[in-house]
C-alpha cells in the first residue's frame, strides 16, 4: 500500500496553539460551532474573521465574541466555562431548552471537545474518570457528543504518564457512542470509525511509530 499520508516525523509534535490553528483550518466557513470548555476555546483565536463562523455557547448565545477584559467584563455575559466574554454584531440570546434543542436537533454544524479517551470506533469518554473519589460532572458534553453534526476531538495523544488516549475500547465511562468524526492530536490527525482508525497526518512520529506506541491498527 503506498502512503499518501503526510508524515512529519522530523518536526516536533504540535503545540497547543499549532493544534488549535490546525483544527481551525478544517472548520468550514459559515459553520455554527461550539467549542468545548478548556483547550478547544483556543481555536477561536485562529478562526478567520472573514469565514463567517458563528460561535455557540451552551449557556444561551450565538455570536459569541472574544473574552472580555477590563471595563468590558459583564457578569451577565459569560461562556460555558463561566469566563466573561463579549457579543458580536448579530448575536442572539436564548434560554437553555432552546440552546440544547440546537444541539440535539442537529442544527449545530461542528463541536470540538476535549477527551480522556477516544476508541477506534469513535466512542468518546470525556466526563468522568470513574474514580470512586471523583465527583461526576457531565455538563453539556453528552448533548454535544450526540447532537452536533460533526464531533471533533482536540487532545494530546498520550497522557502525562505515556498512556495512549486513542484506545481499542474506552475504559472510562462513555460520553457518547460512535460519535467522534475526527481526532486532532499533537502527534497526528485520525478518523475513527467502524473500519478502524484512518491516519490523516502525523507530527513528530511516523505512522509505524504511532501504530507501535498506540497498539492499535492505523490505516493510511
Amino acid at each position: 500500500m503506498t502512503s499518501s499520508v503526510p508524515e512529519r516525523a522530523h518536526r516536533p509534535p504540535l503545540t497547543t496553539d499549532e493544534l488549535a490553528a490546525r483544527i481551525a483550518r478544517d472548520i468550514p466557513a459559515g459553520s455554527y460551532v461550539n467549542l468545548g470548555i478548556g483547550r478547544p476555546t483556543r481555536i477561536a483565536e485562529h478562526l478567520s474573521p472573514d469565514a463567517g463562523i458563528v460561535l455557540h455557547t451552551e449557556n444561551g448565545m450565538l455570536g459569541m465574541g472574544p473574552a472580555a477584559t477590563g471595563d468590558a467584563v459583564d457578569t451577565d455575559l459569560t461562556n460555558a466555562g463561566k469566563v466573561p466574554v463579549t457579543e458580536l454584531p448579530g448575536a442572539a440570546y436564548f434560554h437553555h431548552a432552546d440552546s440544547f434543542a440546537m444541539m440535539r436537533g442537529g442544527h449545530l454544524d461542528v463541536c470540538v471537545l476535549g477527551a480522556f479517551q477516544v476508541s477506534v470506533d469513535g466512542d468518546l469518554a470525556n466526563w468522568h474518570t470513574g474514580d470512586p473519589d471523583a465527583i461526576p460532572a457531565v455538563g453539556g458534553a453528552m448533548d454535544l457528543a450526540v447532537g452536533a453534526k460533526e464531533v471533533l476531538v482536540m487532545m494530546k495523544l498520550f497522557t502525562r504518564d505515556g498512556a495512549a488516549k486513542l484506545v481499542p475500547a474506552c475504559t472510562y465511562p462513555l460520553t457518547g457512542q460512535a460519535c467522534v468524526r475526527r481526532v486532532y492530536t499533537d502527534h497526528g490527525v485520525f478518523e475513527p470509525g467502524p473500519d478502524g482508525v484512518k491516519v490523516l497526518e502525523t507530527y513528530g512520529a511516523t505512522v509505524a511509530e504511532l501504530r507501535d506506541r498506540l497498539g492499535v491498527d492505523l490505516r493510511r
Binding site: K82, P136, D143, Q177
Partner: protein, 231 residues
C-alpha cells in the same frame, strides 16, 4: 392567578415547606437569584431537593444554601468546578445526594414538566452510565432513552425587568434556565432589578409571560465575579 409583588424577599419566599423541590436558576453566578436564596436561608426550609445547573460557586447563592445544611439532594449537570468547594466537602462527607443529568436533558425535563409532557425519548446518554437502567426505544433506527419530567414546588429565578403583571425580560446569558424553570414549578418567584408599569415593556420582547410568574420582588443586581463570590 395573577402575579403578586412582594415588598421584601422574605415575603417572596414565605411558605416554602421542608422537603420541597426547589428549582434554582443560574449558570454559575450568571442569573443566580442571590437575594431569594438568602431569604430562603432565613426562612429556614430544610431537607430540600435543589435542581440547578451547578452545585454552588464560592460561598454565595446556592453554595450558601448548601453550607447552611438545608439541601438533601442536588440534581444538576455540573457540580464539580474550581470553586464548588462547599458542595465538594458535603458530597465527600456523604451529607448531600447527587443526581447528575446531562445539561440539555435537565433543561428539557423541566420544559416537559412545565408543558404537561409525561416524558420524552432523547438520544443523549444512550450507552453511558447516565442512561443505565432507563427504558430505551428504537425509533427510525436510532436508539433513544426515556426521560421523565422534572417539576418543582418552587422556582427561584432572577430576571432583569418585570412589569407588574409578571412579564419578564432577561439580560444576556443570565437568561439561561430562568424561562424554563418559570414554567415548571407550582410557585414561581422572580427577583428583578426593576418593576415597571404594564405597557412599558414591548410585548414583542417579553421572554417569560406573566402567567408563569407568581411572585415578584425587586432586588439590586449583584454582579459577582468568580473572585467576588468567595467570602
Amino acid at each position: 392567578m395573577t402575579t403578586t409583588i412582594a415588598a421584601t424577599t422574605d415575603e417572596a419566599v414565605a411558605g416554602v415547606e421542608d422537603g420541597s423541590t426547589v428549582l434554582v436558576g443560574g449558570f454559575g453566578l450568571a442569573g443566580m437569584p442571590f437575594d431569594l436564596i438568602d431569604a430562603l436561608i432565613r426562612q429556614g426550609a430544610r431537607d430540600l431537593t435543589v435542581v440547578s445547573n451547578n452545585a454552588g460557586n464560592g460561598d454565595v447563592g446556592l453554595a450558601a444554601l448548601l453550607k447552611a445544611g438545608r439541601v438533601r439532594k442536588v440534581i444538576c449537570s455540573f457540580p464539580r468546578q474550581s470553586d464548588s468547594y462547599v458542595f465538594d466537602e458535603l458530597y465527600r462527607a456523604g451529607r448531600v445526594e447527587l443526581e447528575v443529568v446531562p445539561q440539555g436533558t435537565l433543561a428539557e425535563r423541566m420544559r416537559a414538566g412545565g408543558a404537561g409532557i409525561g416524558g420524552f425519548y432523547s438520544p443523549v446518554g444512550v450507552g453511558t452510565p447516565l442512561a443505565a437502567g432507563k427504558e430505551t426505544r428504537e425509533i427510525d433506527g436510532r436508539t433513544y432513552v426515556l426521560e421523565f419530567p422534572i417539576t418543582g414546588d418552587v422556582a427561584l429565578i432572577s430576571a432583569h425587568r418585570a412589569d407588574t403583571l409578571g412579564n419578564l425580560v432577561y439580560r444576556k446569558t443570565a437568561r439561561n434556565f430562568g424561562p424554563v424553570m418559570a414554567t415548571a414549578a407550582a410557585t414561581v418567584v422572580a427577583q428583578v432589578t426593576e418593576i415597571v408599569e404594564p405597557g412599558t415593556i414591548d410585548p414583542e420582547t417579553v421572554v417569560t409571560p406573566g402567567i408563569f410568574v407568581d411572585r415578584l420582588v425587586r432586588a439590586e443586581a449583584r454582579r459577582l465575579t468568580v473572585e467576588g463570590a468567595r467570602r
